[in-house]
Symmetry: C2
Subunit: 321 residues, 2 copies
């Protein structure tokens, strides 16, 4: 086995010097440094990461716990990967399918120091269980959680949804259909936003059904077909996310319904699809949330962390409203 001792022997120096070269420490003679690097290259040597982790007390691996790899979680995970990479951390992804056991694996790896920290996009176990692991290493969540041990990069969607509704109002739409998803705590906030909105402008309750659990393109297509059959049609549809909006838009175009002439559509998230289809939407800064999550973890690990971003929703006006 080729280890640091072997390199030291061949380069005619001590292991300390080799270690210094590897870790880019100062105070190494230029010639010796060259020689050591040469031997390392020749022998195709890499330090054993278990040994490094043991000695340094860190693995430089951060776990990301997500129920699955969906349109909504992907941007967060991608951004998290990038920022972690930039700081020399690797990311270990745990797709739990909402299975407590699978989630537990990640938590246990934090406990046994295989992971330095954890970010939970979703969770399967009860909060107290997750909190009980916070003593083993920093944990950050994406969902709302009031806990002194576990910080969160959660954003209250009330404000974001209100942005969406106000935009529709400003454009002159009054008969608005709300399309909700079922993502944990977001829906209640959106409902509250609509109630406040309706009260503010004294809008009558038109009796449109509240659509729930709408999350996919296919759901959007269904709603489009439903819309066509109605005699009392909504003038605008405020969607739970861009996928639903995309499904609506493409299905409407397919059957010749004009957007925004016949009906306006507004999405939520501002994902690739929304950009592609020219959908008006509300930008949900999940990339900034991911960077904040990482910064918080880094800080709790006692490392110098970049400053936190301010998290704000932003209305992206395009051609669908």
């Amino acid at each position: 086995m080729t280890n640091i001792r072997e390199i030291a022997r061949l380069a005619g120096v001590s292991t300390a010097t080799v270690s210094r070269v590897i870790n880019d420490h100062p105070y190494v003679n230029a010639e010796k440094r060259r020689k050591v690097l040469e031997i390392i290259r020749q022998l195709d040597y890499v330090p054993n990461s278990s040994a490094t982790s043991l000695k340094k007390g860190m693995t430089r691996i951060v776990g990301v716990v997500s129920a699955s790899y969906t349109t909504s979680s992907t941007p967060f995970i991608q951004a998290f990967n990038i920022i972690a990479q930039q700081h020399g951390f690797n990311v270990m992804l745990f797709l739990t399918d909402n299975d407590c056991e699978k989630e537990r694996i990640a938590l246990e790896m934090l406990r046994s120091k295989q992971l330095d920290a954890l970010v939970c996009l979703h969770r399967a176990n009860e909060w107290p269980i997750i909190e009980s692991y916070a003593k083993y290493g920093p944990i950050v969540t994406w969902q709302r959680l009031v806990s002194e041990h576990i910080p969160s990069v959660f954003m209250d969607q009330y404000q974001g949804y209100m942005l969406s509704l106000e935009h529709l109002y400003a454009r002159g739409y009054r008969r608005i259909l709300n399309v909700y998803s079922s993502r944990g705590l977001n829906t209640p906030q959106r409902i509250r936003a609509y109630d406040d909105f309706a009260k503010k402008y004294t809008l009558d309750d038109i009796g449109f059904p509240d659509l729930h659990h709408m999350m996919s393109i296919a759901d959007g297509e269904h709603i489009a077909r439903w819309w066509i059959e109605q005699s009392q049609k909504p003038e605008a549809i405020a969607c739970s996310n861009d996928d639903v909006a995309a499904g609506l838009l493409t299905e409407f175009k397919r059957v010749g319904v004009s957007i925004p002439g016949d009906v306006a559509i507004i999405g939520f998230d501002n994902n690739d699809l929304a950009r592609l289809l020219d959908l008006t939407t509300v930008h949900y800064p999940s990339d900034k949330q991911a960077e904040n999550a990482f910064a918080i973890l880094l800080d709790r690990l006692g490392q110098k962390a970049p400053p936190l971003h301010a998290l704000e929703f932003e209305l992206i006006e395009r051609r669908s409203t």
Copy 2:
């Protein structure tokens, strides 16, 4: 820090004894074992995994490299997780989005012994690059690869697709539409299968278009709408996978086309959707492939491995043909 020395001290034994208790070795006095376990429980102690890995020369983590988390890769990944778990291995998932750099991370972790082994469902880097990492630890692939260093659990889909076609023929269908995906090397084999099939039964070339890159439910829906517009309609549609078949089926039902009365549909994979929708399909044993992949890795790691499954396609007759 609570380490094994601390436990040993409190239990009044040596670290060797504690280690034996932890690893369930024989030759430990029952009373001392009890005492040690008691202290471990009290202090909420877990062995440091870096130390264990360093000493044992294994991390018991296996990497799974996949482009993303899709309907086709999920069953494999799930099955792989389960079998790995059963053998005391953890799985580290790498979703590469076909990015060479991201894939490289996994390979480098194998090199630095952070991973014991790797299974590649997809790959972004060229084969020679991947092969060059085989010397650092066992690698198995899901795709075809002829290499002495990298074994594969690849299955030639010629036979599976032929099964599908023969079934349609036996049911009396002659005007068959082929729907292909673009998954690497599978499509050529399927085309070859259809050519041989057409030759065997001297079927005329009817001039249906060859549909390529069809992989999703939405693709299936498109094809259904295309079918409706044709004057010369296919009697049966042989799909690249169950998702496409599902899209076809549901879209057809929506507009009142009778299945299999007006047109027969056969899928491929036998996933949850196919079961749910009562689709005739060809079972693609990706769970068995995953178990084989793990067995091969285990064997190459010098551990006792379970025997390999024979891999066979199987026609699953349901109500869509």
